[in-house]
């Protein structure tokens, strides 16, 4: 396993109230793992522990075989971090910012210009960061996390505030990294992004993990094994549902396909958002 947490408890120094209550999870190599939960659920605190920013935790947390509370500065040679807000030196260009952060690493690093080209920012390399759009800054933020070729990436709300085109670009970039074997940990409250990207998700509410599973499994298991058909009968639109089992023998279904103009057919698996509400009793707002 790349990341393993066992009975992780945490309270901020100077407070008695625990934020995390015995989290246990493990994340394998080349996996995209999502922490989903509403604001204040504990997902950002979990991420801060994983990136070594909070070390006064109880329990066991290992990343790449190293207990986080004992980690030193060389730990950051092996992890890449992109926070939710893509902050840079606004007066420097995109390329200058990347060169500055690249200089902080002792190991092998990527050519910043090549990275920029890979994320479609080659033409903006010499533009000041203050002139870039939010989508461009998010891609630049992603580049910064990749500079030192880390085997593990931590991304906080990687598609937050992005238009659909830029969100799609970000998702493709993450999937590319996964294909190259990088383990990616995402914290988000964007269910759609999690559904599309994550191999497994953990639902966190009130500092506890309520469930861990793959979005696909969850949607199939918690949904109905049925299809809904919308069709037109003359000027009238009708809807009917059928069990998926034995659908190829279902006479009514087959007749409907033959006799009417079918507009849509949808399987009725549950949405991740609905599952979250069912499992946790909470919304993600």
């Amino acid at each position: 396993m790349v990341i393993e947490a066992d009975q992780l408890f945490f309270a901020y120094p100077g407070t008695k109230k625990r934020i995390l209550h015995g989290l246990s999870f493990s994340i394998g190599p080349g996996e995209i793992f999502g922490f989903l939960g509403p604001s204040g659920a504990g997902k950002s605190t979990t991420q801060k522990i994983l990136i070594g920013a909070l070390k006064s935790y109880e329990g066991r947390v290992q990343v790449l075989g190293e207990e986080i509370r004992n980690s030193r500065s060389d730990y950051y040679e092996r992890i890449g971090v992109a926070f939710e807000f893509p902050n840079f030196y606004a007066k420097l260009t995109a390329l200058e910012n990347l060169k500055l952060f690249r200089s902080l690493y002792a190991g092998e690093t990527e050519d910043p210009m090549r990275l920029l080209e890979r994320v479609g920012l080659g033409d903006a390399a010499h533009a000041k960061v203050s002139e870039l759009s939010k989508g461009m800054k998010m891609r630049l933020n992603f580049c910064r996390a990749l500079l030192h070729r880390p085997p593990v990436l931590f991304l906080d709300e990687p598609t937050s505030g992005l238009d659909p085109v830029n969100a799609r670009i970000m998702k493709e970039l993450m999937l590319e990294r996964r294909a190259e074997g990088t383990t990616i940990v995402i914290t988000t409250h964007n269910m759609q992004a999690a559904e599309e990207l994550c191999d497994r998700v953990a639902f966190i509410v009130d500092g506890r993990i309520k469930l861990i599973d793959s979005p696909r499994e969850l949607r199939l298991r918690q949904g109905k094994k049925r299809v809904r058909v919308e069709y037109m009968d003359g000027e009238q639109r009708h809807t009917e549902e059928f069990a998926i089992d034995g659908l190829h023998r279902n006479e009514r279904f087959l007749a409907l396909l033959a006799r009417f103009e079918v507009e849509t057919i949808h399987s009725l698996e549950a949405s991740l958002e609905q599952i979250f509400i069912d499992v946790t009793g909470r919304t993600l707002a």
Partner: protein, 241 residues
């Protein structure tokens, strides 16, 4: 060391592009030039015009000018830290091999080094300062005051504009040498909470040929400055958390 060299180059670029930061760097050089080339002629002119000589106050003037030196690199580093704090860049540095501690060490070392170099230049080149153990100890305390001032701005200013306003409060620090020079003992110890009191006090001890090294004052001044530095580091870390 490469990472510190690149950070230094980045700072140099920032300072070059920002006239205010540039002024903070060049200010101490202007202070040294004033002390060396203007003070004595000015004193002569005042004596001729108003029968008032500055020369009896040379030690006070030397300390007064010397105290401005750490304020300027301290302000410069404080404003850079404020920018980085507001842009949440410190969190990004913390997630690199530089780490938060390395960032803080670099940011505090630079004003300290600049203050030490420029204070030493003042002591050696101004022709006003009395070179001796008093000046040497004052030089050490001023090297600690510069990062204290950076931290004060970065911990307590809400933004860069507030940082500039707070930097004006540095004028209060000139009360330190005034108390040390003009308030009789033991009453002047009431001003010991002013950081600049201590370098002024030890400088005057040395300038008046009183024992510096055998006195408890340099040690007390050093402890006070280290305590202040510790308090301000804590305040800054609390602010960025």
């Amino acid at each position: 060391m490469l990472k510190y060299r690149i950070l230094l180059l980045n700072d140099a670029r920032h300072i070059w592009k920002d006239p205010m930061l540039m002024a903070a760097l060049l200010g101490p050089i202007a202070v040294i030039a004033f002390a060396r080339f203007v003070f004595v002629p000015l004193s002569g002119w005042l004596e001729g015009q108003f029968a008032f000589s500055l020369l009896p106050y040379t030690d006070f003037a030397a300390v007064f000018l010397l105290l401005t030196i750490p304020l300027l690199p301290g302000t410069m580093a404080g404003l850079l830290m404020l920018d980085e704090r507001d842009e949440h860049l410190i969190g990004y540095y913390a997630a690199t091999p530089l780490t938060r501690g390395g960032y803080l060490a670099y940011r505090l070392f630079m004003p300290s080094l600049l203050s030490a170099l420029l204070s030493a230049a003042f002591i050696l080149l101004s022709d006003l300062a009395v070179i001796g153990p008093g000046a040497m100890h004052a030089f050490l305390l001023l090297a600690i005051e510069a990062p204290c001032f950076s931290l004060f701005l970065a911990a307590y200013a809400g933004n860069k504009v507030e940082g500039l306003a707070l930097s004006k409060l540095s004028g209060l620090l000139f009360a330190g040498p005034a108390v040390a020079a003009f308030v009789p003992e033991p009453w002047q110890y009431a001003g010991a909470w002013i950081p600049s009191y201590w370098p002024a006090k030890v400088y005057f001890l040395g300038a008046n040929d009183e024992p510096v090294l055998s006195s408890a004052l340099p040690v007390a001044g050093l402890l006070f400055h280290l305590f202040l530095l510790w308090l301000l580091i804590r305040a800054f870390l609390k602010r960025i958390d």
